[in-house]
Symmetry: C2
Subunit: 337 residues, 2 copies
């Protein structure tokens, strides 16, 4: 069973919720967690809850990155932050993957400092996940979008590599035999989107290791017709953040519509569970986190608001990915291109 | 009062719903409409409904563009289609603006053939509108996004011109004294988004005719903090289509969530009016349509599913824009840059 390094200090509810998630994993699985952060705070939380001490270790560090710190605040050079130390421990072989709900720029910086970029790759990718309609029972309710912000603009070759990386990840984590890959574009025809996207379409069509289903448009994203969607970071970043804000807005709209109507008033009350379901959808990012792909080690990111259950899920997903050799298979796939 | 040329044959419910919208305008305003399309079909619809014959004229043409025709099907060269003829009539001064719910590529092609691009402009813009939270009573519930597909990639100078054009339009149509303009980007800091967006940010900040409020991210779009949002066509196209699909998905999600729960079942029933409100939101594009900006004449586009009320609204909006001299003011604004 792999050891997962967990950034105990990253996220809005750290270290409390992170530690609680780790405790759950220790009780219900054989995965070992290595909590990286302030030992006193971590132990104080552990002392209040049930956990299996044989499956939890603590690596003390007294620095951490705040959610608001950006690349300009020197996070790249602060080597004793919990996320940097977690990545270093993985690089040293003391753990096999990192889970963090902390600052994204710091997570990327830690990967860049301690991990190696897979050979032949020019651009790593931040992945995002989002909910979509399921077309058959058992289909993963989440699709994978990459890149959502490691890059700004991309070349056609980068997009093809994203397709390979995303396919491998989806195959192992979402248990899809042949994940359908689409190119995010402004039209369905292959001559749309300018030179880079036209070239990417052509290459993807001729790429035997990718089950390419063509271009996907904005309104197609949530339809469930593709499992992996590739695009440049600027586009993916705007899309993933818009999707994240989506459910919130509609919950709000439903609340403000026709308040004068007694049926609506009563309906809103009755629908409390439905509204809960919508809020749950809004929190979809929590389920297992989203990977940073393209390095020789794996890191899974959770949103800052991640709770104990999200942390628990992300640790399980990362262990699954480590056990099934996702990174090795990605490297092989990129090499074959 | 201006004359508005109306493409009677464009849209899923043409000519019936288009003609009905025109009839309403003829009864309740002093705007004159020039219906362009199959005279027999148009007259047949008019014969069944009340209308004011003094404010409606028909210009017969027997060709039209189908919704599924794309740029490859030669729509650029078919000069007798209803949209081409409508644009020609405006160019000849027989009407002052065009309203169409037809094919977007055909609409752009008609503008390009019969209208002139405003001097100093390299790139015209398709606008899109979308609903956002209102921050104060009386605020327009819709924001303007441009470009959503006339361009693919843009230069910084194009984005600044979009900002000027969108500001002028919002000032007149949404009655905002100083529309807040934002740049769609992958971060709020001014160093985000690559060379073009960094340069656009710098220029917009120093542009006195634009009330620039900085970068806006994906999750900010629906928050109501900006009235006009500028971006390149590839990005805007994906965003506007995703926003269009938004309400549909959530209506669906609300319906499928926790069906086993009796409270939810009853709530869904009670909320029929609420669901109606959501569907109404999903149809927001209908309200008044969205302009094509950058030509010396105005064209307003409606989505294909536009109904009679949408057509009626779009005719009123276009008359308002014509009367307030939007195009002239845009030309002056672009010249001052």
């Amino acid at each position: 069973m792999p050891v997962i390094a967990v950034d105990a200090m990253g996220g809005d509810f750290a270290p409390d919720d992170v530690v609680k998630g780790v405790a759950q994993v220790s009780l219900h699985t054989e995965i070992e967690s290595l909590l990286v952060g302030d030992e006193q705070q971590i132990q104080a939380t552990l002392d209040r809850i049930p956990y299996n001490p044989e499956r939890i270790a603590i690596h003390h560090t007294d620095e951490f990155v705040a959610a608001v710190d950006d690349a300009g605040t020197g996070i790249r050079h602060r080597r004793r932050t919990s996320i940097m130390v977690a990545a270093r421990l993985v690089a040293e072989g003391r753990a096999q993957a990192v889970v963090t709900a902390g600052n994204t720029a710091a997570a990327l910086a830690a990967c860049a400092r301690y991990f190696r970029t897979i050979e032949g790759l020019c651009q790593v990718a931040l992945c995002g996940v989002f909910p979509r309609q399921t077309l058959y029972a058992g289909q993963d309710p989440l699709a994978l979008l990459l890149d959502v912000g490691a890059s700004v603009r991309c070349e056609a070759a980068d997009l093809v590599r994203f397709a390979v990386m995303g396919s491998v990840y989806a195959r192992h984590v979402s248990k899809l035999a042949e994940p359908r890959v689409a190119l995010l574009n402004m039209g369905s025809e292959e001559n749309k989107g300018g030179a880079v996207l036209i070239e990417a379409f052509r290459r993807l069509k001729n790429q035997p290791s990718v089950n390419f289903v063509g271009n996907i448009e904005g309104h197609g994203l949530t339809k469930g017709t593709a499992d992996v969607i590739v695009c440049e970071g600027l586009l993916g970043n705007v899309v993933i953040k818009l999707l994240g804000a989506m459910a919130d807005v509609v919950v709000d709209s439903a609340g403000t519509g026709r308040r004068e109507n007694w049926r609506h008033k009563l309906g809103t009350f009755m629908l409390e569970s439905g509204a809960g379901r919508l809020r749950e959808l809004a929190a979809y990012e929590d389920y297992g986190g989203a990977p940073i792909l393209g390095f020789d080690r794996l890191m899974l990111r959770l949103p800052g608001r991640a709770n104990a259950r999200s942390v628990e899920n992300a640790i399980k997903v990362s262990a699954k990915a480590v056990c099934s050799g996702v990174v090795r298979e990605i490297a092989a796939g990129v090499e074959r291109l």
